[in-house]
Subunit: 773 residues, 2 copies
Amino acid sequence: MANITKKVSWSSRADESGAVGEGTPLLNGSEQRRLSRQDSLAGRPKEIPHNEKLLSLKYESLDYDNIENQLFLEEERRMSHMGFRCLEISRWVVCGLIGFLTGLIACFIDIVVEELAGFKYQVVKENIEKFTEVGGLSISLLLWAVLNSAIVMVGAIIVAFFEPIAAGSGIPQIKCYLNGIKIPRVVRLKTLLVKVFGVICSVVGGLAVGKEGPMIHSGAVVAAGVSQGRSTSLKRDFKIFEYFRRDTEKRDFVSAGAAAGVSAAFGAPVGGVLFSLEEGASFWNQMLTWRIFFASMISTFTLNFFLSVYHQKPGDLSNPGLINFGRFQGDSVAYNLYEIPLFIAMGAIGGLLGALFNVLNYWLTIFRIRYVHRPCLQMMEAMLVAAVTATVSFTMIYFSNDCQPLGPEHTEEYPLQLFCADGEYNSMATAFFNTPERSVRSLFHNQPGTYNPLTLGLFTLTYFFLACWTYGLAVSAGVFIPSLLIGAAWGRLCGILLASITSTSSIWADPGKYALIGAAAQLGGIVRMTLSLTVIMVEATGNVTYGLPIMLVLMTAKIVGDYFVEGLYDIHIKLQSVPFLHWEAPATSHWLTAREVMSSPVTCLNRIEKVGKIVDTLSNTSTNHNGFPVVVQVSGNDEPAKLCGLILRSQLIVLLKHKVFVELARSRLTQRKLQLKDFRDAYPRFPPIQSIHVSQDERECMMDLTEFMNPTPYTVPQDTSLPRVFKLFRALGLRHLVVVDDENRVIGLVTRKDLARYHLGKHGLEELQLAQT
Amino acid sequence: MANITKKVSWSSRADESGAVGEGTPLLNGSEQRRLSRQDSLAGRPKEIPHNEKLLSLKYESLDYDNIENQLFLEEERRMSHMGFRCLEISRWVVCGLIGFLTGLIACFIDIVVEELAGFKYQVVKENIEKFTEVGGLSISLLLWAVLNSAIVMVGAIIVAFFEPIAAGSGIPQIKCYLNGIKIPRVVRLKTLLVKVFGVICSVVGGLAVGKEGPMIHSGAVVAAGVSQGRSTSLKRDFKIFEYFRRDTEKRDFVSAGAAAGVSAAFGAPVGGVLFSLEEGASFWNQMLTWRIFFASMISTFTLNFFLSVYHQKPGDLSNPGLINFGRFQGDSVAYNLYEIPLFIAMGAIGGLLGALFNVLNYWLTIFRIRYVHRPCLQMMEAMLVAAVTATVSFTMIYFSNDCQPLGPEHTEEYPLQLFCADGEYNSMATAFFNTPERSVRSLFHNQPGTYNPLTLGLFTLTYFFLACWTYGLAVSAGVFIPSLLIGAAWGRLCGILLASITSTSSIWADPGKYALIGAAAQLGGIVRMTLSLTVIMVEATGNVTYGLPIMLVLMTAKIVGDYFVEGLYDIHIKLQSVPFLHWEAPATSHWLTAREVMSSPVTCLNRIEKVGKIVDTLSNTSTNHNGFPVVVQVSGNDEPAKLCGLILRSQLIVLLKHKVFVELARSRLTQRKLQLKDFRDAYPRFPPIQSIHVSQDERECMMDLTEFMNPTPYTVPQDTSLPRVFKLFRALGLRHLVVVDDENRVIGLVTRKDLARYHLGKHGLEELQLAQT
C-alpha cells in the first residue's frame, strides 16, 4: 500500500482545511493545543505525507446509496416481477462464478508453490548433504541465499515496478474498500496477476510470509471483475451484468469475493462470511449474506476438488483450504477448566508481543516511507531480506544440535541430517527449512519431545524479527502465517515448560494444544480481529470445542494489545491517512453537532442551470465535493435556497459529454434520450472534466437536472448530534449527507472525511487535520 | 402464540383503515379487485380475527432509535470516557450472566428430562416385558397412554391456564421481538417458568416434540430480565443496569439471549450468533456481535461443564449442546462429487414434504383458532394427542417384526425385546420408544442394516402426521427435533434403497450420511431458515466438510417449499396478523411513494402545548400513534406547521404524571427537575392515560416539550419511493418516520404498519387490510 500515494485524484480542499479546523471550537483544551500546533504545519503538508494525524483528501468514497432519480425509477417500474427474479438468479450465478474462480486461483497458487518450493528445497538439501560430508557448507549457504534472493527479486520487480498496490497482504486495502473507500487500482486485473505471481515468488523465495492474505485480495478482484461483465485492462465488454454496474451492487459482490478468498485460504466458509460482514457490512441483508456464503462454499469446494485431483485422491472433498492446520481430535487435546487462566495469560503475552511487533513495524514503515520509496531501492531491500532470512536460517540450523530420531512415518518433508547421527534429523531445520504452513502444522501436531525448548526459543526470537522486517516489503505477502508460526513456537515452548513443571499430570502432555493457543494469541495480538478470526481458527482446526479458549485468548490479546497500539492493518491504514469509518462515532462525541461537523458553504446548483456554471464548478479544483445539492431559489435574495435534490459529479460529466442541453433537445427532437445505460457504460471511470470540450456557445445553454438528480437525498437538521449523523451515514453507507435548516434550506454537506476526522485519542476526542497528501 | 390476542392494546385505527386503503390507487388491477372485496369486510373485522390478509393494529413497535433529547444529550455529555468504558464492561458482564443462566437452564431441562424420561421408559419397559410373556399387552398400552396423558396434562394446564404465550416453540415470538414488535408478556419471568416446566412435561410425556426451540425463548427471557436489573413479576428492582432500560439496549441483550439459547440447544455458538443476526440485526455492529458471541460461548461452556459433572466426567468440556448429533468422522461418511445431485434431489423432497407439513399445520391452526380456543379444550386436545401418540407407537411396535441382534456395546438405551428372539430387540422400538433426540442419533449413527426399509417407511409416515398434529398444541414444545427425526428416517430409507440399487460401490454403504441430509432437507423444508441453520447443522455434527451439501440441500428445500407455501414460523406469524418487516421492500414497489404509504393527517403538538390538549390527544382512542411530531406554527393560518421534533406517548405520560407544567415550574422553583431516570423507572410499562388524574385547573396549564422531545427526528420528503423509505426505516430500526414537504412541514407519519402492509403476492403487489383484531 506504500505507493498508492503516487496517483493524484482530483479532490482537493487544502485551502479549506485550516478554516474547518478552526470552525470547530468545541473540543477540549489539550486538543486545541494540538490543533494550533498542526495549523502551523498546514502550510506545508507535503512534508509529512504519511502522518497518522492527517486525513487525506485524495481518496474518494463509494456510494452505497442508490441514486433513485427518474431514470432509475422508470427502469425499476418497467421491470416485471419476473425481471427481478432473473436479476436475483444472475446474482447467484455471479457469486457461484466468483467462488469457482477464487478457488481455482487458490489451487493454482498452492500447486505452483508446492512444486517450486519442493524443487528448491530438494536442490538445497542435496547440496547441503553433499557438502556436509566434504566440508565447505558456506557454498550451500551461498546457493540457498542466492536462490532465495533471485526468486524474491522477480516478485519484488513485478510489484515495485508494475503494480505497487499489489504489495503486502491486501487486507488493509480490502478493508478500506469494504468500508466504502475507493483505493485506486485495487480491484484491477493487473493487480490480480501481479498479486498471484508475486505471492508465489515470495513464498518460494523463503521469506517469512504466508499466501493466505493475498487470497482475500485476489477474491475481491475476481469479484469486481466478474460482476461487472467486462475488463478495462483487457478492453473487453461482455455486455452482461450491466445492471450491476454501480457501487451498491459491486460492493456486495466484492464482499462475496473477499469471503470466498478467506474461505479458500483457511477452509473457513463461515469465517469468510463473518470476515466480510465484520469489515464491510453496513446493513445486514439475509439474501446477500446467503449469497456470500454460497460464494464461500463454492470456493472451498472448488479448491478441495482440484486439490484432491492433484493429490491423486479425486473426489475426496474433505480437505480444507490452503492452510491445513490438521485436525485436533482425540482425548489428548481436551482441555480442562483450570487451564483457562493459563490460556488467558498466554493471550496477554500474545497481546504484548503483538503490540511490540506492531510498534517495530510502524517505525520500520515510517522509515520506508521516508527513505525507501524508489522501486529499485524497494527491490534491493526485498533481496536483502531474502538473503538475510536464508543466512539466519542456515546459521540457526548449523549451530543447533537438537537432533531427533527420524520417525517411521516420515512426517518431515525435507529432513536435514546435517551433523546428526544416522536415522536422526535436525529439529531446527523442521522449523526453518520448510514452507511456513508445514512448520505450523508440525508445531501443532508433532509428538511431544520433537522439539527441545532452546530450539523453540531461538526460533521464536529470530522469526519474530524476520517477520516484522518482512511485512511491508514491496512484495506480495501475508502476515497470517508468520504470526501463527511465531505464536505456535512460543506456545509450544509454554506447553513444554508447563509439562516439565507439573510432570505428574498427563493433561499437560501435549504441547500441540498450547501451540494452537499461542498461535491464536500471537495472531490476535497482531491483527486484532475478533469474531471472524475465532471462527476461522475453529474451522481451520476443525474442532468446535476450542471455540471458547480461542475466543478468550483473542479477546485478551486484543484488550492488552489495544492498550499500547492499534492493530497492524489499522496502523497501515492510518499511515495512508485513509478516511476510515469505524462502527460507531467516538463515545464522547455527543458534544458535536452536524453544524460543527459539516463542510460549509456548499456549492449548489439550480434545477435548471447554465452549462457554463456547471463546467466552471467542476473545473474549479477548490470545489472538491463529488456531490452537489440541487436547489430551487425561492426569491432573488441571498438567502440559502431550498433543497430539491442531489447530483453527482460523475452524472454531470456524463450529461456534459452527451450534451444534454435544453436548447439542443428542442432543436433536435429526434435526439436519443439519455438512458441509465449511458451512465452504466461510463461507470466506474468517468472521464475528467478537462477531457470534455464545451464551446463558448454551449456554455450559454441550460441544463435541466430534474430527471437525473436524486430528488430525495437523505438530510439531517443542523442540530443533529455527531453520533446520530454517524449512525445514519454508516448504516446506509452514504457518500453525501445534506444538512438543512428548519426550512429545508441547504446549509452544509457532511461527507466521509468530515466524520472520519474525529477519533478518540489518549486525551479525549481528537480531530485530524485534512490535507491533500 | 394462539392466545396472545386476548390482550387488548390501546392502539386502534379501524375507522381509518378503509380510507387509507382507498387512498392508495397505484396498485395493479387484480389488487384493486381484492382490495374492494376486502373493503366490504372492513365493517366486520371481528369475524376474521386470524386472517393472514389482515394486519393487526394492536401490536406496538419497539424503538431502536435513541431518543436524543436534551436530557439524554446532557447525560451523555456529562459522562467521561471512563464512564463509557464502565458501561461497556457492564454490557460484557450482563452478556456473561445471560450466557451462564441460559446454560444453567438448558442443563436443568436436560437433566430433568433425562431422569424423568428414563424412569418412565423403565417402568413401561418392565411392564411390557412382564406382559409379553403372560399376554395382555393392552394393559401395557393403557399404562403407557395414561402415563403420557397425565404428564402432558400437567404441561398443558400450566400453559393454557397460566401463560398461553409460552405455548409452542417460542421462535415465532422471538423472531417478532427481534424484528421490532412488542409481543405482550413474551419476555416475562412467568413465561420463562411456564416454558421450562411445560417443555419438560411435553418431552417426558412422549409427544413428538423437541426441547430446543423453547431454549431460544428461555434465553431471550433471561436476557430481558438480567439486562434490566429488575423483575416486575417479583417486584424487585436491584437498581443496577439502569442505563440499559430502553428499547435499543434491551433489544441488543435479547439478541444475545436468543443466541445463547441456540448455542445451548445445539452446541452451536456461531450458529446462535447467526440466528440472532438473521432474525434481528438491522445494523451490524462489531462490538455487539462480539458480545453476542461471548454470551453464546459462555452458554455452551456452562452447559458442557455442568453436564460433564452430571455425567461424572467433570471438566471434560468436549460435549456439545442439548442435542448431540454425534460426530460424523472417518472415511465412511465422506461424500463424492456425483452424490451432490442426489443430495439436491433429497432437498427437493424435503421441500415438498415440508410444504405439505406446513399446509396441513396451517389448516389445523385455523381450525384450532376457530374451535379450540378455550383452555380446557386445549388441555383435552393435548391429552388426546399424547394418548394417540402412545397408542400409535405401541401399535407400530407391536405389529413390527423387524428384529435386530443386540450389539455387544449396547447402544440402545431401552431395548425392547417383545416378540423377538433372545439377544435381539425390536428395531421399531428404537425409533418410537425413546426420546426423539436419541432416535435421531441412532438414525444417524447406527450400523448399516440396523433398520429395515419397511420400519423406516412406516415410522416416517406416522411420525409425520403426529408431529404435524402436535405443533400448535397448547404445550411448550419445539419443532426442530421432530422435523429432524422425520427427515432422518426417510433419509436413511433413501440411503438404504440407494445401497440396494448400486450394491457394488462401498460409498453408498453408510445410510447415516443420507439420514443427515434427509434431516437437513426436512427441517429446511419446514422452517426455511438458511445461513444460520446450515451453521447450526455443521456445528451440531462437528464436521465442516458437510457444509456444502447441507447448504445446497437447505437452499433447494427452501426454493421448492417457498413455491407452495411459506415457512412454518412465518405462517404462524402471519396468522397472528403481526406487522412483520422483511429485509427489503417488495421488489415491484417502486411505484409507491411516501405520500401514498404514510398515515395522514397526523396529530401534531406545539412546542409549548396546553395540558388539556395533550390529555385529550392521548385519551382519544382514534389517535392511535405512539409518536407525535412537535411543530412550530409559522403563522396563524391553517397551513401545516414546521417540524421541530418528535415526542412519544410514553414520554408525555411521564411528563403528565410528574406534572411538568410551565406554571408549576415557575411557582415551585425548588421542584426537582425531571431526569432521564424518571423515564427509565417507568420503562417499559408506562401507565395508561386513564390512570393519570389531571384537574380542570391543570388542563389550562402549558407544557414545554422542548427539553423532552427528540429535536432531530429522521424525515423523508413525500416523493421518496417506498423501497427507500423502507431501507431507512429498517436499517435504523425506526418506529416513526416523519414525512415532510419541501418546506419542512409535517404532512404525514410512516410507521411499521404502513410498511408491513405491502407484500408480494401471487398477482403482484398486494396490500393488507389494517384491522384492530
